[in-house]
């Protein structure tokens, strides 16, 4: 007799920022949840390195470059994938992907309970109708089917629960939220605030970050060691394993299975989802799990990969791909980096405390209100910070010996850096598809990713460079490094979004306004895959707000018997 199927109310694929919020919302409303995570559980006392000193590591924090090149040739390009934190990033040989050689894509991935939330940059900004209704404003692309007004209560809910520090500014294009007190600014940022505000009228403010400046809901305030990407014993920044997932687990409704690599969604003969097929990461055994509702929250490109690989007689090109839209409209912010210089007035012989896990941001001003730039659509924002050199100046100071060391110690330069991040337009020719020739370590077809920046991004980059140069001049810096001539590599900013976008029209979108796949009412996508546009701001807070909304919708629809 076959074993009886254990059918959960909700089966969630992925345990990061998105999955954690869906799980919390549905479990707290009494639904049983099975969460499948492709990677292993992390053990803080084993895997966190937050207070480790460079001299306690074999390679002093510079990393075993040979091993990084061999095992993580893609991941090593991420600033956080270093000797302290490489364990939070995938092995690129087990998890390959392909791209045309002339269109490189940098795919940074974290597979573990918590996903990338261990090492995200924590910047948390609300989108506004400048993003949700951008098409209505400038005529390009599609609007989101939801508005800021509809998402606002979920932003409130997420911020109130996870804790986001920030200042209230009253800018329409940069909505305020439920903030904890803001972080302090560095001296360099204070000068920038005065100079940039006076000369250009642009607002300089502390980053809004999911880091606690005061104790919050049982979690202590940040202790400002400034190494968040190495893990956080105090859970003072948001990561799902210490914030949303414990809340879900304490309901008694959550079953968490790690090391479960999902390959595809199981579709029944009625064309509805009934579960997923997965492979045990360690034993390579095939398994199935079942849910009345299936939610893909595996990160944008992984969720889309699962959909593309869910082929059946009803969905020969993958579920949700009836109109050939699935996989298309990939976006990732581009950045212009490298601008900066020394601030002679802040050179000092005295060391300042360091450890503030945020810098400053200047919100978007181009194409805002009555400002219209005829050279490009949408806009960009700046971010940066100032800080004392630790020992970088030692290389430049001539000579050697005691006198030289004394100078290294007492002549401390102060460096100011600033960069720009711009919106990437959603274009159909930026897309992902299954590579017909390549599989990962678990036999699952990998993604082939085709991406490039277009005319609008290049026109915007020109304006970004001009503004950055004007700022550097106005700041009266010395030893100026000009902003880079090159746009960042596609994917580098780890804000990949789109590929299963939201919309009311099944011919131009993959999921509906509640994030259910068109035509499969019990299959949802809750992560960045559903984004229609992404503005110039980090997507994670919006991913969490959407996920909370998806969770609430599933719970309510289940209660009404609609799922």
């Amino acid at each position: 007799m076959p074993a009886r199927r254990n059918i959960y109310d909700v089966l969630i694929v992925g345990s990061g920022a998105s999955g954690g919020w869906v799980a919390k919302e549905v479990a707290e409303r009494g639904l049983s949840v099975l969460m499948l995570e492709a990677g292993p559980p992390r053990v803080p006392t084993r895997d966190f390195t937050e207070h480790v000193w460079p001299y306690q590591l074999k390679y002093r924090g510079f990393g075993d470059q040979q091993r990084l090149l061999q095992n993580q040739p893609v991941q090593r390009l991420c600033y956080a994938c270093d000797e302290y934190s490489h364990q939070f990033f995938v092995n690129d040989h087990e998890n390959p992907y392909t791209f045309p050689a002339d269109k490189p894509f940098m795919w940074i991935r974290g597979r573990q309970v918590g996903g990338k939330t261990f090492c995200w940059a924590r910047e948390s900004y609300r989108y506004s109708d400048y993003e949700f209704k951008a098409a209505s404003r400038d005529g390009y692309g599609e609007d989101w089917p939801i508005s800021y007004k509809e998402l606002e209560p979920y932003y409130d809910r997420v911020e109130s629960f996870i804790g986001v520090s920030g200042s209230r500014e009253g800018l329409a294009q940069f909505p305020d939220g439920q903030f904890l007190p803001p972080m302090a600014l560095s001296c360099g940022a204070v000068q920038a605030q005065q100079v940039i505000g006076q000369k250009f009228g642009w607002r300089v403010m502390p980053d809004r970050v999911a880091v606690l400046t005061v104790p919050h809901r049982g979690r202590p305030a940040c202790h400002y060691c400034d190494e968040c990407q190495r893990g956080c014993f105090t859970a003072s920044y948001f990561n799902s394993p210490s914030v949303t997932l414990p809340a879900a687990a304490r309901t008694g409704k959550l079953t968490l299975v790690s090391d479960a690599v999902v390959s595809h969604v199981l579709i029944n003969r009625h064309g509805q989802a009934e579960g997923v097929h997965y492979i045990d990461r360690s034993t390579r055994q095939d398994r199935e799990a079942y849910g009345r509702v299936v939610v893909l929250a595996a990160a944008a490109l992984e969720s889309t990969r699962i959909l593309l690989n869910s082929r059946s007689p009803q969905f020969p090109r993958g579920v949700g791909n009836q109109e050939g839209v699935l996989g298309h409209y990939l976006m990732d912010h581009f950045t212009i980096e490298g601008g900066g210089g020394l601030m002679p007035s802040l050179a000092s012989s005295k060391r300042e405390p360091v450890g503030r896990p945020c810098g400053f941001i200047i919100p978007k001003y181009a194409n805002v209100g009555t400002n219209r730039n005829s050279n490009f659509l949408r806009g960009y924002r700046f971010d940066g910070d100032g800080s004392q050199e630790l020992y970088g100046h030692a290389f430049l100071l001539p000579e050697f010996g005691d006198a030289w060391r004394q100078k290294v110690r007492s002549d401390i330069p102060y460096y100011f850096g600033i960069g720009a991040q711009g919106e990437c337009l959603p274009r159909k020719d930026n897309y992902v598809m299954l590579d017909p020739h390549r599989k990962d370590a678990w036999g699952i077809p990998v993604l082939h990713i085709v991406s490039s920046y277009g005319e609008n991004e290049h026109a915007m980059a020109k304006a970004m460079r001009a503004d950055l140069s004007a700022i550097l001049d106005e700041m009266k810096l010395s030893d100026i490094n000009p902003p880079s001539e090159r746009l960042s590599v596609f994917g580098k900013n780890i804000h990949e979004c789109g590929t299963a976008r939201m919309g009311n029209d099944p011919k131009t979108s993959v999921v509906d306004r509640n994030c259910a796949v068109h035509g499969v009412r019990n299959l949802f996508v809750s992560d960045g895959a559903v984004f229609v546009t992404q503005g110039c701001y980090e997507p994670t807070l919006t991913i969490m707000a959407i996920s909370a909304r998806v969770g609430e919708h599933i719970a309510e629809a289940s209660r009404r018997g609609e799922l």
Partner: protein
Amino acid sequence: MSTDDDKPVPENAREGLTRREWLLRLGEFTALAGVAGLAPPLALSLGLTEQQAAALPPGLYDPSPKHLIHALSSRALPAIPPGSETDYVQPPQGPFRPQFFSLDEFKVVSRLVEILLGKVNSGALAETAEWVDLRFNSAAGVREAARRLDPLHHALAVAYYGEAHVVELETSDPQAVARAGLAALVQRAQQLGNPFLDLPASQQTDLAREMSQQPEETPLRRFYDLLRREAIHGYYTSQAGLKELDYQGNAYHTQCPGCEKS
């Protein structure tokens, strides 16, 4: 060099403290670190979570007092947790043996590092020289791994860093630079009448300065530049080097560090 900060945390402090024991210890640790006013807010918030501390599935965690112990005892070498993927420094298993340099070469390198750094404590000096040996020893493997990147990863590296950086990684040969530099140094010392290590200290220093003033592509200058770069990295990432810089990070701050001039 030993300071109060070096004092290791008692082994039994790492595991199995009750909340009350931990709060008592907290007083000791705050005194040890000279951090006042730390205990009340933390005790309050951590106390709340500890009461809630029901068993969570593997991979989930609550805020833990262990962080404090780590933060305040972090100058001690950590006990390496089983299964860790982190390359912690291993306790020495006997006298150091260089991996790249011969014993004689290593003595010369150590003396050059001493000249470059000036008067630093002997432990930091030895540590820096050992770091130099590690970097030169691992260079060939890094170059080889860079050369063996598959075409897509190579294309991505070029797009990310630029062609020049990637070519440098694939072709730079610090080991050859070191061998050529050491050979040139032997020759130059012979011209002065003695092996380098037998020259008077002032003459050794003059020779190091001479190395620094050679044209950029000469063996002595290239070796000097690499050696100086690694000596700087090695020393200023050592405990003594960071203390000398008065580095104020990786610490427990009760307030968000910001501009005091504003």
